[in-house]
Amino acid sequence: MSTAVQGLVAPNPPRAAGRAPALTFALRAVGPLLLLAAWYAATASGVLTEDVLAGPQDVLKTFGELWADGQLPEALRVSVTRAGLGLVLGASTGLLLGVVSGFTRLGEELVDSSMQALRAIPFLALTSLFVVWFGIEEASKILLIGVACTFPMYVNVSSGVRNVDRKVVEAARSFGLGRLAIAREVVLPGALPSVFAGLRLATTLSVIALIAAEEINVTAGLGYLMARATDYLRTDILALCVLLYAVIGLLADLTLRLIERVTMPWRRAVSIR
């Protein structure tokens, strides 16, 4: 190089981030596709026999059959409704208590200790008790899912609210905003990242709680489908239900991430200057 100078070096700046979206998508697809291929290879080669695990093509065929005769849509409707209602119930309880506990001193003193104590109870241990208290109908199931979803939401929201910039809160107060207005205009938007973190954890947990709730006395839903498949050793239906649980969780998570982008436009504009 003609401009070489003794003792000097060219700086080594970080490479600009940003890959073609198509390539990113392809890279993300590699892992799941490999897993699918491994599953297919294991069942097609006979390493995994049908009584252990059905192959992906059989599962797909079963999906078609169950969908056509209406069993699957009905089961999905029932299960997703249970998980959804429980999630709404639990997440709003967690949100409310989290804001109260994070934002007010009195709220923290009143709410936090009991929430931390209740959080230590594994919700799975409550399954039978809830059946005794609330019966074998929908109420006990939805309440169990609700309880499970409350705590991750509460923990995240209360810490998110606590971490909201106090200086901005003070400024808002100096401009005459009341406590409710501050909570709505400043605290909640500021805590949104934590709210979404809590919501995503709660969503995952709602599916887990759904499975636990559907273990006992069900006459409809994915859990019912699984219970019957177990009686007849139908590994294709079992695998299908397992996959469907995963798909429900995945779709819920994707939806939340989409909402996250839409509701926090200010986060996309961040750059280092």
């Binding site: 100078v5 003794q6 000097l8 080594n12 700046p13 970080p14």
Partner: protein
Amino acid sequence: MSPEVSAESAGLAVRTRGLRKVFGERAVLDGVDLDVRRGEFLALLGASGTGKTTLLRILAGLDAATGGTVLVPPVRTVVFQEPRLIPSKRALANVVIGQGRSARAKGLAALAEVGLSRHADAWPATLSGGEAQRVALARALVREPELLLLDEPFAALDALTRLHMQDLIAELCARHRPAVVLVTHDVEEAILLADRIAVLREGRFVTDLQVGIDRPRDRTDPVFVELRRRLLADLGVDSHAGTPREEVAR
């Protein structure tokens, strides 16, 4: 010390040739040729958006240039406009970050140089703006840089603190003699501190002059006043009205 080399470039700390930086359609830097000698204090002036900070970030190796060559010393440090201290580390730990345990004594010495020995154990959040910026300065100096990059380091400070900081920088740079590139939009600050002042406009240097005033410099010195007037004119400011022409035109 580096051996004497006959080439005229031997005493350089910075060399850029044909440096370009394009954001979208706009060339913020459009063929910048810059040489800074070792131990030289260069002030970069320019209105906002003229690429001063962009140039400094390229010299620091934080951003990539779109084109041209850049050569800088291997050891270079930056003081940013904000202190940028790590809130979870105490002042001394911030100063010696990444330097290993043996740097403790040097870190304390650097804190003493900026007058903060007593605050070595303070958390950054408990420091005032000026103190935090002095910790940032100590963090930059403890690495014994050959090139010290200052990106409007006084801009967020109050007027009195700024005067103290300017004296401190002048004193420390005179003692350690790194090459310095100071980005600022304060013309007086540039004349007070720098050996040489360059003005950026539309991606190029429109002015590049030596400040031939003896130190310590007096703001009321007629040479100082004349230089200030000339630089303000280069920046597009009518020094009598004190109003930027651009603002009026808009």
